[in-house]
Symmetry: C2
Subunit: 335 residues, 2 copies
DNA sequence: CGTCAATACTAAATCGATTAAGTGAGCTGC
DNA sequence: GCAGCTCACTTAATCGATTTAGTATTGACG
């Protein structure tokens, strides 16, 4: 067997530079206490030896884990949004040398007790999800992507996309294109973003004296449910526009609409509250909201870092950050 | 501020049980060296205090990180397969107390030097991906999901799905349904699985004296490319069956086919080499290969654990595990 | 009774970094 | 000429668990 590769330690750097480990540590961390000469010598030798500090030892010393846990809703593998947001979190974490791990949904027991992490990011917390309660009980700093649906659950901060603006923009566009009876298909699971879209839709309808036409679809049965919801909306013959919540479900809507003879962009307008590359290439292309999930994930991580870095500091109220959204208008909402 | 919560340490357990830290450690780890009485007392007290060992300290002592890194191909957020496989890895890792982290694609520099992990799982390594080389140069034990496309790259093990069987089964089904000129749309990126499907398709055609009709589509432009490829295949008027590689791209194939007046399942048969829930609910439903990605991910993790646990042991050849696949026949390949 | 061995423990070193406390040299100011 | 101070460093404690080496007690046996 090859001689086991042993990484260079601070001790070796210190010996090589003929200083104590403490001096070497001061030099490398940029803290005062060593002369410029010594600092430069240490830095040079560290670079030559290819020294890089042992994260585990640093973590032990500072009694942190260096790990940030991320919790995603269940049954969302089909939604590219979540993977993009996760990679956004990872990109931001990389810069600060933190490790990101995903919390499994299955094995309920282990989390009940302890999660080996310094902080937690929960993306799209769902009212119905029992795991969310447990995770909050762990006493970790928590930042959510979108708000906690139950305001009794206090968290350290939340990054929130501006769904209200994009929803209004889409509904206005529907109206401008000639729609008189727009409907929405929302998620059965109650999450902050879908609830806020629904609220915004109700308000918009109320302002215009229209009936709200709302159908729901469960995430784990999204194709089946959306198909059923679409049929219900279209078969009455009056609904002339549909805002579907996810990029996947709008495909189902489009499919059923085509089967039942509706011409999308002409006598039926559709849009999705979450964009994905496929929507731009459909025929006709489909209007959708670009949520910029990578950027969103990065912001969640950055906020959590702010929280972690100011742990000892004065207790400020929960942080909140509103992120703008952008509607990409395409053929499905009129030319 | 609330008194900072400090987890129970081994020292506290030991003091509470009136034994040394070493004795407590022996008792808890189940190693000989303490009497049954003492062991039970320590276990009881540990349970009462809610002791759970500090992972970071254990890792430092054993000079491991407790972290397994996972590398996914770029631009695959739209493919639920990868997220499912990742969760499979995580589920398996949870059982052995390991942490899973994803390797970011962006920041090239950091990985060049070091990756803070005990081992690495690379899912679908791509010949064109320069990161893969770098990652292999890190000297970590590596297990791949699907084979390394370049056999010069040696790894500790590989978990491989049996794409040959499923591909043959689909092609045979095309033929049984009446197809005389089946085609495939493969990935531009050269990965083991798509290459093996392509090879299998060529062999199958050769055996029957048919021309191979092969088009390619890049992952990052999959919708556009697949549409172009489909047009090319269908516009010559002879192609009567298409095997598309991904669940997403088969939708594009179906869309274009419908636009150009082909009736899927009647005068055009289609299938996908990767299944996803949406395919079962399409109209008509689409035949696809169930790769059971969660199970696949678990197997990757289990193999890596075997490798890590036998680090010191005799050098065996690289491990290989062939996982069966299952074709789910649906309406798109004939009634 | 003395020797040897086994049992059940304790003391201390270790993993690799950070950091509080301590030391000696050199300089200032009165 | 010396108290007092700063600077540049070293020593040693620390984080929490594991593990090696060492010690005291017991029992067996010739």
């Amino acid at each position: 067997m090859a001689p086991k590769f042993r990484p260079v330690t601070l001790k070796q750097v210190a010996e090589s530079a003929r200083v104590s480990r403490a001096a070497a540590s001061f030099a490398l961390s940029g803290r005062p206490g060593v002369s410029e000469d010594t600092r430069n010598r240490v830095l040079k030798i560290a670079a030559e030896l290819g020294y890089s500090p042992n994260q585990t030892a640093q973590n032990l010393r500072s009694s942190r884990t260096g790990i940030v846990a991320v919790y995603l809703p269940e049954n969302v593998s089909a939604l590219g949004y979540y993977m993009e947001a996760t990679f956004g979190i990872i990109d931001a974490a990389e810069l600060s040398g933190r490790t990101v791990t995903l919390v499994p949904h299955t094995n309920g027991a282990p989390h009940a007790t302890r999660l080996n992490a310094d902080g937690l990011i929960i993306i799209d917390p769902t009212l119905e999800d029992p795991h969310v309660d447990k995770l909050l009980g762990l006493g970790l700093p928590v930042v959510t992507g979108e708000e906690m649906p139950d305001p009794n659950h206090r968290v350290s901060g939340a990054v929130i996309a501006d769904h209200a603006s994009s929803t209004r923009a889409i509904l206005d566009r529907f109206a401008a294109a000639g729609s008189r009876a727009p409907a929405i298909i929302t998620t059965k699971e109650r999450m902050s973003w879908s609830m806020s879209i629904e609220r915004c839709y109700r308000d918009w309808c109320a302002e215009r004296g229209l009936d709200a036409r709302i159908e729901v679809s469960a995430m784990d049965l999204i194709v089946e449910d959306t198909r059923r919801a679409t049929r219900k909306l279209l078969d009455d013959g009056t609904t002339d526009a549909i805002l579907a919540l996810t990029d996947g479900s709008v495909l189902t809507v489009a499919g059923y609409a085509a089967e039942s003879g509706r011409r999308i962009g002409k006598d039926l307008f559709i849009a999705a509250a979450v964009d994905s590359p496929v929507l731009g290439y459909m025929n006709p292309s489909v209007t959708a909201v670009d949520l910029n999930p990578r950027d969103f994930g990065q912001r969640c991580m950055n906020m959590l870092e702010r929280v972690l870095d100011s742990e000892q500091a004065e207790v400020q109220g929960p942080l909140t950050e509103l992120v703008p959204t952008r509607v990409v208008f395409r053929d499905s909402t009129g030319a």
